[in-house]
């Protein structure tokens, strides 16, 4: 496991973290990994994303109290699918490859299981996303690959769906 930066901490996400989230997404190349474009699409997506902080379903990691990553559980509205949830994760470009993504995911999976009784977490990512390596390390498996799902400047990219059954995770056993 990578050594996390000094002053690293994790807390629940608050509404005010929206500004950091917007700043990261608007850095060059970041929106490639998400379905929305900048402008009204981004603003609508930001409101939906940050809204889960009201259920304490989102975590913000920080270094010296400056936000560096956000991971969120998109809780399901219907009872028959409430045992699972979609996860969104973003790490600020300058803090990538420091082990922060992995740390936030582990804490998020723990939160999902303990607080919300979630049994399965899944993520939808654009092919080539560096997050894929983290997911594989954490025990996620690829369950769907949908070619042509994203289209950007005339080029197509696949959507990958990774899921993890939390009860099968060694680091969550007995918790």
């Amino acid at each position: 496991m990578k050594h996390l930066p000094d002053g690293y901490d994790i807390r629940y996400t608050v509404d005010e973290d929206l500004k950091a989230l917007r700043d990261w997404l608007l850095q060059p190349g970041m929106l490639h990994w998400f379905p929305m474009n900048s402008g009204t699409e981004l603003e609508a997506a930001l409101l939906g994303w940050i809204g889960f902080c009201r259920f304490q379903a989102s975590l913000t990691a920080s270094v010296e109290e400056e936000p560096c990553a956000i991971g969120t559980l998109y809780l399901m509205p219907y009872k028959k699918v409430a045992h699972e949830c979609l996860v969104k994760l973003i790490v600020a470009p300058k803090w990538q490859r420091c082990g922060i993504g992995s740390s936030v995911m582990r804490n998020l999976m723990h939160l999902a299981k303990k607080r919300f009784g979630i049994e399965i977490c899944y993520l939808e990512i654009v092919e080539g996303n560096p997050l894929e390596a983290i997911l594989q390390t954490l025990g996620f498996t690829l369950v769907a690959k949908q070619d042509m799902y994203f289209k950007e400047d005339g080029r197509y990219f696949a959507r990958l769906v990774y899921e993890c059954i939390l009860s099968e995770q060694p680091f969550l056993r007995g918790q």
Partner: protein, 165 residues
Amino acid sequence: MSASEIVIRSSRQHEDEYLKKWLKEPNVLQWFPMIDDREIDDAIAYWLSFIPIGACLTAEWNGMPCGMANLYIPIYKKISHQCLFSIIVGELYRNKGVGAALIEHLEKLAKEKFQIELLHLEVYNGNPAIHLYQRMGYKEYGKQYRFIREGNVYIDKILMQKRLI
């Protein structure tokens, strides 16, 4: 009834009553994520919200609605060339070509009106409609395990798609 006797047209707002009736017919909700009236009303409101843009179709037999299908047109540009769809056929009208006629018209609508290149659907394991989707050219591209939970029973969700272009 033959496929030539089925009329397909754009859906109308008041048709929520048919959707609700068909969803509440015996053994239907097992193939949908909703479980009670509140969830059904929520899902129907979302479905019908696509009527104003002309993305919902209703099948009629003798002037009576007998099935509906809907394109969930995406709001994001990067994924606006692909679309998820839903379909339901009333209990009395199954195995008569209504589902196939709805999907055929929906594919045409998707391609010509919305420039959709890739159409896809989600279906729960064991749903007999899987055979219809296969016949219509939809291929499985993934599966989400234990997607539905009712008590201690889990059902997988199968993801299928078809290229229109």
